[in-house]
């Protein structure tokens, strides 16, 4: 596991530099060194995952599972089926089983105080993966390792401004994720933040495509029907919806990536395939393969090291021209 993640992270060539990325690299480098020493102790780690709602999530689960077992620890895995109540129950059970550490990707940011307090009372350290929690008392968890969805939205916006900033009028349609989900809200927010400063950009239509290909295609079809010739850009909150939309665009008789610029998020394999085929312009990476990084953090914590409250995952952005070359290396 761990070198694979490095590879994915290492391939970034012209990544837009962000403040925490640099910080992250330091931490991961730091923790790397202690791996040998820390792993001598076998830990029982409870990992509560959101669900298996997308292949990004599945890749994340796999990475986490592999990293934990490869490091010689015992894994207790629980899938919350996208329900927060299940996740709370799972954490309670982890506490009852007296695990050594709990890793979890919260379904939503709120509502974990009580159970995290119980974990703290039982002296079990909690590590947040992928999404954070919204709790004032930050002593309830050790650290949060994950992507910044707002930042992903910003990246998408910045790329677009760089690319089409000179045009007079750019009409954007947006395919949102599941209504109310954190990535949908944040990716929208980050994107609008950048676009809002440029009066030549306008989001003309915006609908939820539930993060799925089928819905993405269906909604895009409706967009095209009502105003097909005036769409310049498609911003999809994930690659799957973008891929669905690409099919709709083709069926409508336009050329994706030429007639309509297409931006996706996640950088899943499908997006690379689409980009390699010249049908998609860019995808913002949201890296799920941070299992090894997480295991390192846990071991470092157990070894008594100081851990920063926020650790960012190495992430980048891939454009059409990189796709061909990188496609064979994508694992998910």
């Amino acid at each position: 596991g761990s070198d694979e993640a490095e590879e994915a992270g290492g391939t970034e060539s012209d990544s837009t530099e962000t403040e925490d990325t640099t910080e992250t690299e330091d931490t991961s480098a730091e923790t790397e060194g202690d791996t040998e020493e820390a792993s001598s102790e076998k830990l029982v780690i409870g990992f509560s995952q959101v669900g298996a709602e997308s292949e990004w999530r599945t890749a994340n689960t796999e990475s986490m599972k592999a990293a934990i077992t490869d490091a010689g620890h015992e894994l207790k895995f629980s899938d919350a089926q996208q329900k927060q109540e299940n996740q709370i129950k799972a954490i309670r059970s982890f506490i009852a089983q007296k695990v050594d550490a709990i890793v979890f990707s919260p379904v939503v940011e709120t509502g974990f105080e009580t159970v995290l307090q119980e974990a703290k009372d039982a002296d079990i350290p909690v590590f947040l993966a992928d999404r954070s929690v919204d709790i004032e008392d930050d002593s309830l968890w050790v650290t949060f390792l994950g992507s910044d969805f707002v930042e992903e939205g910003r990246k998408a916006g910045n790329w677009l401004v760089d690319e089409l900033g000179d045009e007079d009028e750019v009409n954007i349609v947006e395919l949102q994720g599941t209504v109310g989900s954190a990535p949908a809200i944040d990716r929208k927010e980050g994107f609008e933040e950048i676009i809002g400063d440029h009066s030549n950009f306008e989001i003309t239509q915006s609908q939820s495509g539930d993060f799925t290909r089928a819905k993405g295609k269906e909604v895009m079809e409706a967009f095209l029907k009502s105003d097909g010739d005036n769409i310049d850009v498609l911003y999809a909150h994930n690659d799957d919806m973008a891929i669905g939309a690409i099919q709709a665009i083709e069926e409508y008789g336009l050329k994706p990536a030429e007639d309509i610029t297409i931006i996706g998020v996640d950088a899943v394999k499908g997006a690379f395939e689409a980009m390699a085929a010249g049908k998609m312009n860019v995808t913002i990476e949201c890296n799920p393969l941070f299992g090894p990084q997480m295991v390192d953090l846990i071991e470092a914590y157990k070894a008594g090291e100081e851990i920063p409250k926020r650790v960012a995952v190495e992430e980048s952005m891939y454009t059409m021209d990189q796709a061909e070359e990188l496609l064979p290396t994508r694992q998910y």
Binding site: G46, Q49, G51, A52, T58, T61, L75, K76, F77, S78, D79, Q81, Q82, K83, Q84, E85, N86, I88, K89, A90, R92, S93, F94, A96, Q97, K98, V108, E109, T110, G111, E113, T114, Q117, D134, I135, E136, T178, V179, G180, S181, I185
Partner: protein
């Protein structure tokens, strides 16, 4: 003879309890830490809200109806509570009645549509389900964390029972609801009318029972229970969120039916639904303790365990029925 007859009516319930005990024993043998009283109490802590909706749903199903809106009403309640407490800064003593009233009114509206326009409960409450969740989104699509001493107390308050074991205030609320519901179901006219309507609505009408009033009341009670459950859920989550309790209506219906209530109405027990909730809870607990199942195997395992329960329950009921035939010969 009398005793036998009683047994027969309660058979599905008894079968369910037996199955629960078997499952619990199985878990205790297999997993360390499973056989602890706190794990058992956690079943109640983690499912208090489900018990409360299941109680309301039991009345609906006993009357031959169904209420699909409960999950969404929970979400809406949590959203109203959160936004009023956090954004409007109101006191819980105002917010709680508002929340309860919202759910009750939604329930009453559904009941009135079902009764007075003769619409099918499934569809009316399906529309109610869309509406309540939609309204929750309209309030806000984002989650609102609640940070208020009263709510925090309800969330993390621990009521010690024996030793280190504790329950939460919500468990007490659920317990009170169950006791009241059992009383209502068996010792009040309203409760008996619900059974009669479920048995045969037309007969109930011809026997001069207040069918219209009772039916509207049934959905009102279910709405009330859903909003009360929404509050308990809000204590549990300390947040309001439009996606809360997504799909919970199916869990609730499953719990009620596993608890031995017939979907066609007229037969079942409130207590059965509580056991039904416990069974769903223990299935989850077992799966978490197992801790090795992948996401998809988790789903398959839940399905398989559900199947096991339902089939065993049928087998127990059918076998005892035939046995009873032989006994009653004497």
């Amino acid at each position: 003879m009398k005793k036998l007859n009683l047994d027969y009516k309660q058979l599905p319930l008894i079968a369910t309890i037996i199955l629960f005990i078997i499952m619990y024993a199985f878990g205790s043998f297999r997993y360390t830490g499973f056989f602890s009283s706190q794990v058992f109490l956690n079943l109640f802590i983690d499912n208090a809200f489900l018990i409360i909706v299941a109680v309301g749903m039991t009345f609906v199903i006993l009357s031959g109806g169904i209420d699909l809106s409960v999950g969404s009403v929970i979400a809406l309640t949590s959203m109203i509570a959160a936004s009023l407490i956090m954004n409007a800064g109101l006191s819980p003593w105002i917010v709680i009645p508002i929340c309860l009233l919202t759910g009750t009114l939604i329930g009453m509206g559904q009941g009135a549509l079902i009764q007075y326009f003769n619409l099918q409960p499934f569809i009316v409450t399906l529309a109610g389900m869309f509406l309540a969740r939609g309204l929750a989104y309209v309030i806000s699509v984002e989650t609102i964390a609640i940070n208020h001493p009263f709510f925090s107390y309800m969330a993390s308050g621990r009521i010690p029972i024996w030793g280190d074991n504790f329950i939460s205030p919500s468990v007490i609320i659920a317990f009170v609801v169950v006791v009241i519901a059992v009383f209502v179901a068996h010792f009040t006219k309203y409760g008996r009318n619900v059974y009669a309507i479920g048995g045969n609505e037309q007969s109930a009408l011809l026997m001069g029972l207040p069918v219209a009033r009772t039916k509207v009341m049934i959905y009102t009670v279910s709405g009330f229970c859903a909003s009360l459950s929404g509050l308990v859920f809000t204590f549990y989550m300390l947040s309001g969120y439009g996606l809360h309790a997504n799909g919970l209506e199916l869990d609730t219906i499953a719990a009620v039916v596993i608890g031995g209530t017939l979907l066609t109405g007229g037969s079942g027990y409130v207590a059965g639904s509580v056991v039904g909730v416990m069974i769903l809870g223990i299935i989850q607990t077992v799966i978490v303790f197992e801790g090795t199942l992948s996401s998809w195997w988790t789903k398959i395992a839940i399905g398989a365990l559900l199947l096991l329960f339902i089939v065993l329950q049928r087998v127990i009921v059918i076998r005892s029925k035939t046995k009873k035939g032989i006994i009653s010969q004497h």
